[in-house]
Subunit: 99 residues, 4 copies
Amino acid sequence: MSITASSDKGHTVQPNKQQLLNRLKRIEGQVRGVQKMFENEQYCVDILHQISAVQAATIKVSLALMEDHTHHCVVNAIEEGDKDKAIDELMDVMKRMVR
Amino acid sequence: MSITASSDKGHTVQPNKQQLLNRLKRIEGQVRGVQKMFENEQYCVDILHQISAVQAATIKVSLALMEDHTHHCVVNAIEEGDKDKAIDELMDVMKRMVR
Amino acid sequence: MSITASSDKGHTVQPNKQQLLNRLKRIEGQVRGVQKMFENEQYCVDILHQISAVQAATIKVSLALMEDHTHHCVVNAIEEGDKDKAIDELMDVMKRMVR
Amino acid sequence: MSITASSDKGHTVQPNKQQLLNRLKRIEGQVRGVQKMFENEQYCVDILHQISAVQAATIKVSLALMEDHTHHCVVNAIEEGDKDKAIDELMDVMKRMVR
């Protein structure tokens, strides 16, 4: 991952913005595909597998974004001595992910 | 839940089809919202919270669909003496959901 | 899985009782191992990996037990016309597992 | 949380060591309780609920430990300029937790 991220005045540059956007577009397409499966009254188990694929893809995006966030925003915050808020936020995100 | 489901020649009628479709449309909208957050370079933590909301909504749809599936397709299969395949499929879905 | 399960007066015979008990004993040993790692002040990341192994082993026991439960108790309940309670219970278990 | 942690020559002092040890002992007791439920051939659904409680307690210990780890080891690593390894390790832990 070649990284040119910087955090400037609270404005975060996502180093993998385009790649993550592409993945989200693919997820959007998968969700529309699931809707079509419902409309065509396909077999529930096939629909459930497709929804599991959406979940897996969504978790991967979360993890990738969390990784970028930690490498950049959290590291910046710690280097600037503002660590507690950054770590509390990160832990809050993790808690929601593992529920 | 008023249910008029029937399984006829492998064709499954989803009793909550419209409700689940509405939820999937809402999820599709949420995914598009996340894309917009990326495009507007919003704060990663806010994006991560929004992706967690997508995950939670997706799991709820899975559980609702799995519940309908069990009440109808699995019960039908068991009543028709074809239980093993139905239960194996259900467990396979469950395994994917808890990963 | 050779199965001799039967449900008699609400009394359930677990077909894989010994195998599941062995797995639970192994999990108990893993949990004690984690305690020892704490006492020896081992590196947190190593401890976290070991706790992840406990989680994975615990989920596998849940899934195996749920599979037996569905093949026996749920099928029995459905064959005896008492399906709704059995399916509600199963769904409740699933909801807790995926949280 | 009053914290006196320090990382000295790779030796990590866990600030909440005793509290986490107590929780792990409670989890060990819960796992033994589940074994007893199997031995007494209790109803599978009750056993499954108890195993879910083990899972929930285990995840809470993981999150608490991960939080301490981030506040101390990760922060130390970043302040000492050794951030990449620390963040890769943290992300690896996270990936295992959400599987």
